[in-house]
Amino acid sequence: MTTTDPTLSPTDSDGARPDTGVGTGTRGTRIIGIATIVAMGWLVAFGLGFSPEDRDQRESVRLLYVHVPTIWIAYLAFIVTAIASGMYFFGKKHALGWDRLAGASAEIGTAFVAVTLVIGAMWGRLTWGVFWQWDARLTTTALLFVTYIGYLAVRRLDGTHEQRARRSAVIGMLAVLEIPLVHWSVRLWRSLHQEATVLGTDGDVSMDGLMLFSLFVGVIAFSLLYLWLVLHRTRVMAMEDLLDDRGLDDALAARRAEGGPVDSGPVNSGPVDGDRMQEGAL
C-alpha cells in the first residue's frame, strides 16, 4: 500500500520502507571515524612536534610512536581472530559472523604488521645503520606476517562459506601461538632489537613522561582505527557472502529451468563444477 501523506515515510507496495542503498556506515562508525582522525592529528603533533628527542636514539625515536602501536594492535587483531575462530569452530551454531570477524581482523592485523616492518626498517637504518638484519625479533615478525598472508590466501580458496570458515578457523587458532614467540624473541635469543621498554617483565616503564604520552596517543589512534576498520570490513564481508549466496541461487534456478522437468530416476552423469563446488551449501 502506498501513501500520499507527505508527513509519513515513503513506503513501497508491501508497506515496507524502500531500500536506501546505504553502505556500511552508521552513526557509531562515524563517531569512531571522527575520533580516529582527531587522534591521528594528535599523534602527528606529539610524535613529530611536542615529544623530545631521545638521549641515545635522537630523533629516530619519533618513528617508534607508529612502530610500537601498530605491532601491539596487530597482536590484538590476531588474538581477536583466534577467539572469533574458536567461537565459530567450537560454537554450537557455527555462526559465519564469527568467521567474518576473524577474517576482517586478520586483514587489518596483517596490514599493521606490514607497516611495523617498514617503519622498523627505517628506524633500523637510522639506529643500526642497516634496513634489515636476520635478527630474532625481525625474523619472527616477518614469519608472523607471512603466516597471516597464508591465512588470508586460504580464505580465498574455492569452496562454500562453511568450508572457508572451517579451514581458516584452524589456522587462525594455531597462528596466534606465534605472538608469544615474537614478543619474547628478544629474551629467548641474543637479539639486536632492544627489549621491551613499556611491557617489560619487571613492570618498570623507563620512558620520559611526554614520550610515554606520545606512545599512548599512538595506541589510542591505532586502536580506534582498528575498531573502525573491523566494523566496516565485517559488514562488507557480510554483504559479499549474501550476494555470493544469491548468485548461487540464481545460477541453480537458471540451471534447473534449462533442464526442464526434473527426472526422479538415477543420474549417471558426474557432478558439474558448480554443483561440486557448492554441494556443502545445499
Partner: protein, 44 residues
C-alpha cells in the same frame, strides 16, 4: 630535525597506507550497499 626524510617519510607512508585501506573498505561498502536490501543489513 635530523633524518627528517626518514621520519616524515615513515609517517607519510603510514598515513597513505591506512587512508588507502579506509577508502577501499568504504568504497566496497557503498558499492555492495546498492545491491543488498536494507533488511539484510544487520547494522541498520
Amino acid at each position: 630535525m635530523e633524518d627528517a626524510g626518514f621520519i616524515i617519510g615513515g609517517y607519510v607512508l603510514t598515513f597513505v597506507t591506512v587512508s588507502f585501506m579506509s577508502w577501499r573498505v568504504l568504497r566496497a561498502g557503498k558499492r555492495l550497499g546498492k545491491q543488498v536490501p536494507d533488511a539484510d543489513k544487520y547494522w541498520l
